[in-house]
Amino acid sequence: MNPSRKIIAVVLLLAVACVLPFLSNNYWLDVATLALFYVVLAQGLNVVVGFAGLLDLGYAAFFAVGAYTTGILMTVYQWSFWLTLPVAMIFAAIVGVIIGAPTLRLRSDYLAIVTLGFGEIIRILAINLTITGSASGIYGIPRPSIGGYVLGGQIDFYYLILIIAVVTVVAVKRLGTSRIGRAWMYIREDEDAAEAMGINRINMKLLAYSIGAVIGSLAGSVFAVKMSAIAPLSFSFTQSIMILLAVVLGGLGSIPGVVLGAVLVIALPELLRSVEDWRYLIFGAALVAMMLFRPQGLWPARYEMKRGASRGETEEVTEGGSGNDVKLDSEKCNA
């Protein structure tokens, strides 16, 4: 797609997203809101798994950190919602560093298990601690307000999460094409080579992990005020898997792909409502089939083309090497 057509497509998509509340009924608006939550979450995980290649199976834990921080601060300490946002994000970043610093030295499979265990620990903590309201969770979380206007309706939250989703997508996209993003991708492709080239791989991985955590907690905070009640059930392993599925389905590291994946992960089960019990079975089979037949996802990332199109001659020469590497690797995936 050439740049101008791409811009038109994005503008059209945004226009549709903006007028959607006036075209759909409450049910589909709710589905759309949930899909936007998944867009934010999936983009956050995309930074961790897609860019840096760190398989995180406990991502819902950060979603929980955000939701519980906002929930507790608002109900127990009567904070304003907007004040809880930065606190939740900082807190998530700290938790990310605490869990990431010792474990990111591990190889991919070990990291997957550690994050899985960590996600379970957070969930069990939420069930057992009194401050998190144990199994019944926190309820009666107040509505946020801007000036005098209280965000109460479904449409308000739809627009709130839409804005956050757009900001997240833009931020992740810019991160991906930045110097940091290229370092992440280099680490993903070959850690040792990246380190040999002067990239501090531990710091870079930690950064990816923390940024993912911050984005996850942001979604969690908004989720808490939108639902006005949270319970440990919302932050289970299945939730982490669904977010991961959105990323994998769309295409690891691909911004538009991950948005598509998030929408599909929410929309498909709604369409499959009649076969409720079979949903996750079908998803499981879909995961296997995707990896077997199309491991790069529905809308794969195309680094080499973007580089050629957006960069000047001189830089292209220096970037050529790593660009080819990525291309070779994606070809390997296809084979």
């Binding site: 960590f118 620990i121 079979w278 996750y280 089979a285 077997l292």
Partner: protein, 300 residues
């Protein structure tokens, strides 16, 4: 004193289950360096297949004699073992040369498939095992140890002994050890690599299924989600002992079982999973090679 012995005895039984499941993790990891996330679900599948077989063959609970239970156990192990081979054939073999992330994600997909498939077949509720085990037992230093507990530990020990002999004495065991060292070289030496990998999955799956049936009989109820947590803990056991090491998996399982029972005793039942997972994170951070593991220098 009696509490200590009781904890040791209860921990030993749980630990025996963990060891049996951990062996599958360790064997598969040792041979193809895959963390088989679906392994815990094979344990669950074993529990359910055993449940069905007992319901069909056993009739009423009192009729199933000791021999009948053993036959059901063996049948379950064979059925689930073949199923494990099937999983390897369909989901893992085509991806052996693919990036690591792909095969890990496939394993998660298989796990989701097994869990929800079982939910559809057997229902989401807890199923009561059609078997009543006696609560008779002996008193040892003030602790009560049932005959069932002793029997389960003996069966587990026999299975592990059999595996140990198979790996160390038989030709296939030799081939497995060789493939764990260098797959390509084995291929060139005329070893049918895929066949041996399939056999590894068969053994791993059948051991997990054996543990599943025994656990179902021991606890009395089975549920489609039972595999997830226990799979994670068996993995912890495998890592504790040193992943890739067979004696390590046995030792790790027993140690974890006892530590968990002790943790339950000290902090209460709702915290026992936290004890296990904190332990997992601690080991991975402090000593990723585990107790008996060798240092892995190869990068993945």
């Amino acid at each position: 004193m009696d509490i200590l012995v009781q904890t040791l005895a209860d921990g030993l039984v749980i630990g025996a289950f963990y060891s049996l499941i951990a062996l599958g993790y360790t064997m598969v990891f040792g041979i193809i360096k895959l963390l088989n996330f679906a392994h815990g679900d094979l344990y669950m599948l074993g529990a359910f297949v055993g449940y069905t077989l007992l319901s069909v063959l056993g009739g009423d609970s009192s009729g199933a004699g000791l021999m009948g239970i053993l036959i059901v156990l063996l049948l379950t192990m064979v059925i689930v073992g073949v199923f494990g081979m099937g999983i390897e054939r369909v989901a893992y073999r085509p991806l052996l040369l693919a990036p690591r992330l792909s095969i890990l994600i496939t394993a998660i997909g298989v796990s989701l498939f097994l869990e929800n498939g079982s939910m559809i077949v057997w229902g989401a509720q807890y199923q009561v095992y059609p078997l009543q085990l006696s609560h008779d037992g002996i008193s040892l230093l003030g602790a009560k140890i049932t005959y069932v507990q002793i029997g389960l530990v003996i069966i587990a020990a026999l299975l592990m002994l059999g595996l140990h002999l198979f790996i160390n004495r038989s030709l296939y065991g030799k081939a497995m050890r060789a493939i764990a060292l260098d797959q390509t070289a084995c291929h060139l030496m005329g070893i049918h690599v895929h066949k041996v990998i399939g056999l590894t999955f068969f053994i791993g799956a059948s051991l997990a299924a054996g543990a599943g049936t025994m656990a179902g009989a021991y606890y009395g109820t089975v549920n489609f989600m039972m595999g997830f947590i226990i799979g994670l803990k068996a993995f912890t056991a495998a890592v504790l002992g040193g992943i890739g090491s067979i004696p390590g998996a046995m030792l790790g399982g027993l140690l974890l079982g006892m530590m968990e029972t002790a943790g339950t005793f000290m902090f209460g039942g709702s915290w026992k999973d936290v004890v296990a997972f904190s332990l997992l994170i601690l080991i991975l951070v402090l000593k990723p090679t585990g107790i008996m593991g060798e240092k892995v220098t190869e990068r993945m």
